[in-house]
């Protein structure tokens, strides 16, 4: 498989530079309770109301592992073809910060729950197979999130809210397999899609349920890997790309001016569009990891892993292939309809209204990606909130398919459906929008149109064949757009005779 974007290069004074990118994505695991306590994980609660004495690290409190976090991490691992480690263990990562009352984060350094896997990415939405690349995943481990600090509420103090403290995260560590900002964005997009299909993370980057640490280094093509920097907590696809562009250019400038890249942690400032060194965290790299004595090793049974596997839905890559090969959709439609799980669910509910889904799949896909997406976009709604249900859409598409209404009238009917919530058949009936296919009625109108435009009829017959469209227009207009366009065309051709 080829990928044009891998030729992304930084033009330096000494020649071209390649960029090497690896991502550590932190994905909040969708659960009711926290990783080691029974406090709620719900977003947006009053400060410190979703905190147990375990999360606040009161003396003598002991962590008890939430089974659902284990299940979701294993399901995620299986979804990316990864090795599941039947033996894993928790370690303490020690550092002092005001958002971490324990003084250590419980994580998995030495024995992560998920080993190597892979994710297929694509740079071309219109033809995903032609521009694919495989990105390796090194590991996935489970760990605790930290609390939240607010710096702007008080002149001399920072406020600490521990509601997020102890919420379960998966850290998904990629191999340094990406070579451009676009590849990194495609990877995160695909990972997000898979997580949402699996249901292990809601993928909401604005609320911080998914954020990335971006590792960037540069090298001359073919050279050994350069020294990397890690930019922490980048929370949007756009920012991830900006960080890579900025860091790559900065590193090239540093090296070409004769200095060396320092392996360090950096922060992204979206307002200034730059990354900055986090010098205060220099010591933080000395984490003094050791196995957490409060937790025994986590051992998984075959049955548990089997059940995790059996519970997985059809995943985006399989689904896209099926839409293309079985349902006969275009590569583009198949990609668009499977990118978000909700869209695919909606589409499949529509297909379930018929026994022969292959017959309506293509027209339904076209309608969905143009008409429905267009309307939802305008209303600022997601597909789950669509005012028109898949069943109602099927009814509308059925009326087009059996010739009751034309595609043009269908647009009108759809507008009314969106406004009123009424069914398509009811609207067509009430507003008298039914398409006229009765040849007698259409012939009569054609005769009138020809009588009123004798000069144009003569011109047409004299060879001005472009006038054909004029007659179609006049006939449709006289019938308020309700005439079956196919029948109109046929009858006009017959009545007007050959042009010239």
């Amino acid at each position: 498989m080829s990928m044009t974007e891998s030729t992304y290069r930084i033009q330096g004074g000494t020649g071209e530079w390649e960029v090497v990118i690896g991502l550590e994505v932190h994905a909040q695991i969708t659960t009711n309770a926290k990783l080691f306590s029974g406090a709620s994980t719900e977003f947006g609660a009053e400060p410190n109301t979703q905190v147990s004495l375990v999360d606040a690290a009161m003396p003598g409190m002991l962590p008890v592992l939430n089974k659902e976090c284990v299940r979701q991490a294993v399901r995620t691992g299986l979804a990316i073809d990864a090795q599941i480690n039947k033996y894993s263990r928790f370690d303490r990562k020690n550092y002092f910060y005001a958002d971490l009352p324990q003084g250590y984060q419980i994580s998995q350094l030495y024995h992560p729950i998920v080993g190597e896997g892979k994710i297929e990415i694509s740079l071309d939405e219109k033809d995903p197979d032609a521009h694919g690349k495989t990105i390796g995943v090194e590991r996935i481990h489970i760990e605790q999130d930290a609390g939240k600090l607010m710096h702007d509420q008080h002149p001399t103090m920072s406020y600490v809210d521990l509601n997020r403290c102890g919420v379960a995260l998966m850290e998904i560590v990629s191999m340094p397999d990406m070579a451009s900002p676009k590849e990194a964005a495609a990877y995160v997009r695909k990972l997000r899609s898979i997580l949402r299909y699996v249901g292990s993370c809601d993928g909401n980057m604005e609320q911080g349920s998914m954020r990335a640490d971006v590792n960037v280094s540069v090298r001359k093509p073919g050279d050994e890997l350069g020294t990397r920097t890690e930019t922490k907590n980048v929370n949007s696809l756009r920012y991830i790309q900006q960080v890579i562009e900025y860091e790559a250019q900065r590193q090239v400038d540093v090296i070409e001016s004769g200095d060396e890249i320092v392996q360090e942690t950096r922060l992204f400032d979206p307002d200034k569009n730059e990354t900055r060194s986090m010098r205060s965290k220099e010591d933080a790299h000395d984490y003094r990891y050791f196995p957490d004595p409060d937790l025994l090793p986590l051992e998984l049974e075959d049955d548990f892993i089997f059940d995790c596997k059996a519970s997985l839905p059809e995943l985006p890559d399989e689904k896209r292939a099926r839409y293309k090969n079985v349902l006969g959709l275009s590569a583009y439609n198949a990609a668009v309809l499977t990118a978000e799980h909700e869209t695919a669910i909606w589409f499949e509910e529509l297909l379930e209204t018929t026994d022969e889904p292959e017959k309506i799949a293509s027209s339904a896909a076209n309608w969905l990606t143009s008409e429905l997406f267009g309307a939802l976009n305008k209303m600022g709604l997601s597909i789950e909130k669509s005012p028109v249900s898949p069943q109602q859409a099927a009814e509308l598409l059925g009326l087009i398919a059996d010739g009751t209404i034309s595609g043009k009238i269908a647009k009108q009917v759809f507008e009314i459906m969106l406004e009123t919530g009424d069914g398509a058949a009811k609207i067509v009936e009430e507003k008298g929008l039914k398409q006229e296919s009765d040849t007698g009625a259409i012939e009569k109108v054609i005769a009138d149109v020809m009588a009123a435009n004798k000069d144009k009829v003569a011109q047409y017959r004299g060879g001005k064949d472009k006038l054909f469209g004029f007659f179609v227009g006049q006939t449709m207009k006289a019938m308020q757009g309700k005439a079956n366009p196919q029948v109109v065309n046929e009858l006009l051709k017959k009545t007007l005779g050959p042009a010239g």
Binding site: N32, K67, Y97, M157, V160, P291, E299
Partner: protein, 95 residues
């Protein structure tokens, strides 16, 4: 394995323990004594023994994903010296 004074001071700093020069001087031989004693254990060949993670032969207990705790803000911030509006207040830490 042994530690020098610089290492002792670094570990103390990472652990947020205030250690005076005199204390650090005293800690170096003390810690090295302990390290030396632990090192004796390495003389035993345990390359074919599984590492023991706990003294009790037990399995890790798992919890169901049910909310059973929380809504105890007063208890959580009861010992906080500078709590305000339900938050812990700490000296301003900003990157």
């Amino acid at each position: 394995m042994s530690v020098d004074k610089e290492t002792v001071k670094k570990i103390a700093n990472l652990s947020r323990i205030a250690v005076t020069e005199a204390e650090a001087d005293a800690l170096v031989p003390e810690l090295n004594n302990i390290l030396g004693w632990v090192e004796q254990l390495s003389e035993v060949d345990c390359s074919k023994v599984e590492p023991m993670t706990a003294v009790i032969p037990n399995k890790l207990r798992l919890r169901d994903d049910v909310v059973t705790d929380g809504n105890i803000r007063d208890k959580v911030i009861a010992n906080a010296p500078a709590a305000e509006h339900g938050f812990f207040g700490v000296p301003k830490v900003i990157e």
